[in-house]
């Protein structure tokens, strides 16, 4: 068991390193441009947020508010979107017996995780200094939530992969719903921005719980009325199990 895990870790690290190297490989500073793209996306939303003003609550300045919610969401969104692409891109690597489709997806997810982790740390330090926000209330909780979002992204990615392999046009609808879902996942607006009457229709969403808890663990002035670690843990376990099950099914029965 330990030997197998060691091999798995070895394969994943080799694939992730290769994935990072091959990003924008035709440009000088290849991987740097990936970071630049992510910073640009964040910058655009920050400008919008500042221009709209007033949506974050007291003690949650806009830049830190966005860093705490948007960067993990961007990582989640990229992770769930990358699954099918990672397999398509790494088709040639699947000819090596040691590499599986799951390895390719996990390596891409790790690359995205590493990119956004660096960005998260850099922007968190910058925004905390700039807006004079104290060190997060519960840093370990934030780290765990950040990892949970990545794992949920992979699980959702497998679900979407199977869905699109079964019914190709499904991607047209899921893309719309997932982009729309960002508005109701606490990324730009916290739950207290919505009337309490609509809360029961929103709290099924594990992403909303994660985003709410991220703010609660970060800011001393905000205590989420709905964030539940137990609910997140249940969803994480369920989604991971279901995602891996679907991956296995797709590998055997639904070739791309």
């Amino acid at each position: 068991m330990f030997k197998l895990l060691r091999i798995q870790f070895r394969v994943l690290s080799a694939l992730t390193a290769r994935d990072i190297q091959s990003q924008q490989a035709n440009l000088a500073f290849g991987f740097g441009w990936v970071m630049f793209d992510a910073f640009l996306a964040f910058g655009g939303l920050l400008i919008m947020k500042i221009a709209l003003r007033g949506f974050s609550g007291h003690g949650m300045p806009p830049m830190t508010f966005l860093v705490s919610g948007l960067i993990p969401w961007m990582m989640f969104a990229q992770t769930y979107a990358v699954c099918e692409g990672a397999i398509g891109k790494g088709k040639n690597l699947l000819l090596l017996p040691i590499v599986t489709e799951l390895d390719l997806v996990l390596a891409s997810a790790l690359r995205i995780f590493a990119t956004y982790l660096v960005m998260f740390l850099v922007l968190a330090v910058i925004s905390s200094f700039y807006e004079d926000v104290p060190f997060p209330k519960f840093a370990l909780g934030i780290a765990l939530l950040f990892v949970s979002m990545s794992v949920m992204g992979v699980a959702l990615g497998f679900f979407l992969m199977v869905l699109t392999r079964l019914y190709a046009p499904a991607g047209k609808f899921t893309g719309f719903f997932l982009r729309f879902g960002m508005l109701f996942s606490g990324v730009v607006f916290q739950i207290t921005s919505f009337p309490t009457s609509v809360w029961p229709y929103l709290t099924w969403n594990p992403m909303l719980h994660i985003e709410e808890l991220l703010r609660s663990y970060w800011f001393y002035t905000y205590q989420s009325p709905i964030g539940s670690p137990a609910f997140i843990a249940e969803c994480l376990l369920g989604m991971t199990f279901f995602g891996l099950l679907l991956e296995r099914y797709a590998r055997r029965r639904l070739r791309p």
Binding site: L94, L95, L96
Partner: protein
């Protein structure tokens, strides 16, 4: 230590094809054995190798692998052309847990491409990719090596050296050579499987196997051309596996012996 395929069924690329590519296929390869797989074009030689190494899944049946098995050599499609030769070698080394820094140099020396180590693969001459693919395949420690088409598929200038290298590596290992050239099998294998109508027929002696294969080819040719048109000169050439690959097989086989 072996590879065993039992009752394997594979439909093949064309799902609508009237017959499956393999149906109740049984194949056993023992460690240290030098086994040939003979088959006409599109008979499933490459698919069989992929089934053996685990990159292709069978729809039915059981495949047991109790050995470290290579990928079908010379596989080069996983090489990244925008990366340097050394980066490509390091990637494979990392993948297979070789922490030795000298591995890249060893592979480069084996393939006689040491001068290209720090050059992106796309800027290298064509032979570098061929040699690198061969050296990476045989440079790693496996119990059974799988060769698709030829034992040393490289450029003319490197053939003799490749034959030496391959023979050195294969002396204590098993290998499977899948080809359509019976001459290659005669020179370098101890036993042979002949692929025919979704089955693999085993011959303990290569001579019988190649004879059966040649008869099979001529029957197929007769069927295609009609009864009066048998004995086309081209058929003889193909069945004997003469030409470039044949010469190469000779070099490798004599080196192994």
């Amino acid at each position: 230590m072996s590879i065993r395929l039992r009752g394997v069924r594979v439909q093949g690329c064309a799902a609508s094809a009237p017959h499956p590519l393999f149906d109740t296929l049984d194949v056993s390869i023992e460690d240290g054995a030098h086994v040939g797989v003979l088959g006409a074009a599109k008979s499933g030689k490459s698919t069989l190798l992929r089934l053996m190494c685990g990159t292709e899944m069978a729809e039915e049946g059981n495949i047991e692998r109790r050995s470290r098995i290579s990928w079908p050599i010379p596989l080069s499609s996983f090489l990244v052309t925008s990366s340097k030769v050394s980066q490509n070698i390091r990637f494979v080394a990392r993948l297979y847990g070789i922490a030795d820094d000298a591995f890249a140099r060893r592979i480069a020396q084996m393939a006689d491409i040491a001068g290209f180590l720090n050059v992106p693969l796309r800027q290298c001459p064509g032979f570098v990719k061929q040699r690198l693919a061969l050296a990476l395949g045989i440079g790693l420690d496996f119990d059974i090596y799988l060769f698709d088409g030829s034992l040393a598929p490289v450029d003319k200038d490197f053939r003799e050296r490749a034959a030496e290298v391959v023979s050195g590596r294969m002396a204590n290992c098993g290998y499977v050579l899948a080809t359509a050239a019976p001459a290659d099998i005669e020179r370098s294998c101890d036993s042979v499987y002949v692929l025919d109508a979704g089955q693999a027929r085993y011959f303990a002696t290569v001579g019988e196997g190649t004879k059966y294969f040649k008869e099979l080819l001529s029957k197929q040719k007769q069927k295609q051309d009609g009864p009066d048109d048998a004995g086309h000169p081209l058929e003889e050439t193909e069945a004997d596996g003469s030409g470039d690959i044949d010469m190469l097989g000779t070099a490798v086989a004599s080196a192994i012996e």
